[in-house]
Subunit: 341 residues, 3 copies
Amino acid sequence: MADPRFFANAGPFALGELARRCGAEIGPGGDAGKRITDVAPLDTAGSEHISFLDNRKYVETFVASRAGACIVNAAMAAKAPAGMAILIAKDPYRAYAQVARAFYPSPPPEPGISERAQVAAEASLGEGCRVDAGAVIAAGAEIGRRCHVGPNATIGAGVVIGDDCSIGASASVSHALIGDRVILLPGARIGQDGFGFAMSPEGHLKVPQLGRVVIGDDVEIGANSTIDRGAGPDTVIGPGTKIDNLVQIGHNVQIGRGCVIVSQAGISGSTRLDDFVALGGQAGLTGHLKIGAGARIAAQAGVMRDVEAGATVVGAPAVSSAEFFRQVAALGRLARKKERE
Amino acid sequence: MADPRFFANAGPFALGELARRCGAEIGPGGDAGKRITDVAPLDTAGSEHISFLDNRKYVETFVASRAGACIVNAAMAAKAPAGMAILIAKDPYRAYAQVARAFYPSPPPEPGISERAQVAAEASLGEGCRVDAGAVIAAGAEIGRRCHVGPNATIGAGVVIGDDCSIGASASVSHALIGDRVILLPGARIGQDGFGFAMSPEGHLKVPQLGRVVIGDDVEIGANSTIDRGAGPDTVIGPGTKIDNLVQIGHNVQIGRGCVIVSQAGISGSTRLDDFVALGGQAGLTGHLKIGAGARIAAQAGVMRDVEAGATVVGAPAVSSAEFFRQVAALGRLARKKERE
Amino acid sequence: MADPRFFANAGPFALGELARRCGAEIGPGGDAGKRITDVAPLDTAGSEHISFLDNRKYVETFVASRAGACIVNAAMAAKAPAGMAILIAKDPYRAYAQVARAFYPSPPPEPGISERAQVAAEASLGEGCRVDAGAVIAAGAEIGRRCHVGPNATIGAGVVIGDDCSIGASASVSHALIGDRVILLPGARIGQDGFGFAMSPEGHLKVPQLGRVVIGDDVEIGANSTIDRGAGPDTVIGPGTKIDNLVQIGHNVQIGRGCVIVSQAGISGSTRLDDFVALGGQAGLTGHLKIGAGARIAAQAGVMRDVEAGATVVGAPAVSSAEFFRQVAALGRLARKKERE
């Protein structure tokens, strides 16, 4: 179903092979040899496609689906329509991800350095790298193996990048140390000066920004997001953290492992997020805060105080989600009451 | 009045010719042969300039203006100062746009491919295209006639672009099918991976993003805006929709015809906007919503529920505009009352 | 302490020399000849480092610090631990900035034009400029002395740039007149079309944007920020104004001297800021407003009315900060009260 102009399908696969790859169990009566040619959504899938059900909202679509196979949890398996093979998984969405990665893997880039790229003689590139036209890699940069530096991307002097990274089109990186398997989407800006000025009516004096950006393994950073380098300490993005598009990370921010930061959120200088924090779209955090592990910050929240581990906060100024919805309800009642009076 | 370093004036024009081009009527006593050399704002226009009045706030400026001609609606015509010729139009701003386009047309680009551009042998370019230095066009891309690919822009493999499009400096496009007369401003990011992960404490697993971005005719997309490709279905931007700078459009979003999306707004995955929806600056929509035709979402609104066709919603969480202003008033009264107690 | 891969240290300096450079006084018993090799944060500084104390929160860290020297105000000097030399300054952060600039100056760029840059024959470049690989400078552009045009940056036709400017990687500039010592960080977008359309169900008609962007001396503009050119009047950024990342400035906006605009803020068309206005992160201003000198707009504020000089406004819709906190308190009480009933 994926447009072959853009995606190369590595299938077909036997159902049993897909079950093995995603750690699922074939449901009663399923044929491990059944040929599956592609993934597809429940409503458009055909008899050689595999789909998934992850949301009760779509049970009707599931029951009516013509998919040849579907990944579901144990509770849903019995509702499968006749002729549909079932793969039973605890987390059907994760299993789907693995199946989709089987059909559409991300192979290492085809190695080669474009004649139109500029790679400084003093830069080092590991084996198997691809550097596209217009890319500029400055002196002293060290890039690992099998990295892809996209068209018109810029890697500044002294930057260190690990193995199997992808630097998107027109992205720029300076003053940074980057781990393995890091993905920067197009236009991401890593390592530029933080916003540091000694303010005064005589003129705001620029303060040298003397830190770096340190990015752990398996991080993804979205298109046109901006991560400033530290002012003295480093700005740190922990391993496995995923950052969406148009996100701003200020200088000296420290983000732990496995955090998820949705589009257009912003984190002011020196704030620290512990592991597995989730930050909703357009949320904003002021500077010098501590956000505990596993905290959840709602979309558009405005956080001005520390947040405890595991807490969920909503609104601006942000409060607990229970308090927020009480406030919303109370204000709604008040507005109606005043109207009746 | 426009700086000739940046803008080439195609005038002068006779007043009658301008009236014809914008569908306006010359007011009583107006001379169709009057020579008009340029457009200009009411307060700085001189005797050979044409201006417009579209806002009651500026009636005094109009009455004092020395503009040789002015586009107004019928009600305002009688207030024109002596010596000013009048063009009467139902929609003076639209008529002004047409007159300004007469003076400053957008001709097709001067054809030619820079020696410093990289165009893959397997890409196709229609007649009359201009490709600037540093642009990179990958294999299998198909670009229509009279398109302008700006400096350092990147067009990915297999991308299809219609006729008379303009791709701004350092913009990037991948996995996309684009109609005619589409304008991408500098730094726009089209077609990169959506933000799709199967979340887990063991590590967030990247889900292949197998859809495309499909953009209709006459769409404009602002500087540094980001439009992710679909996860399986496509991300769709309907014909005539105008998107401002720094806007985020998530994967699988479907936007109808003629929508207007102001700067820094964000739309989460799988939300659908029907035709002619207006979205104010910094507004945010969560995922999987339906926004009916003609709905108006205020600036900074936070929308978490479906919005009916024609409705206006304000605030976060967004409510009807009447309800929002009742809430604001009630809260103001409450704060004052508590203070007095 | 700064990573020598990225930063070149111009030290060491004698303490007396540093005192002279930042206008501070050496405290009692201090040795003007003491050798200082670097700046460092209080908690990691050693005996040859200089640090600063600017925030009461860090007094304990100061008392325990092993820094060889520290910049403080007069009130704090007596608390210095034994062996620490003291520099006394009215504004310790500003003095620190000057000391850090002594260690890490910003010398003019190493002159030279990359063979991989494209500079039009009809463009002019002052002496001492550096133009990196992939940069594209169009005909008629006039660039002053000692400017650095970074890799893959684009300077459009007719643009005028003063002396000692820095244009970041992949930034783009068109239709603009730029002063001296201006810094554009990577991906900044200056001078593209404003968002101007004559809206109509028949189709939104693009209105030619015939103004420029005029940027004063000593302005800094953050990564991926967007500044649209005027629609007829110019968009103006006054001298000494500092703009953070991902900020949107609409067409015809006029910003005075010394304003500070934090990340992800947005200013709609034709709004005017007088001198020294401060705008918090993610704040939004609607169009056609006047914001008086020295006004402070809180983070995430939504401003829909003019703001008086010197006022502080908070919230959306924005009110005085006193009123905002009264409202927050009143709403909190109301929510608790309703709960108890």
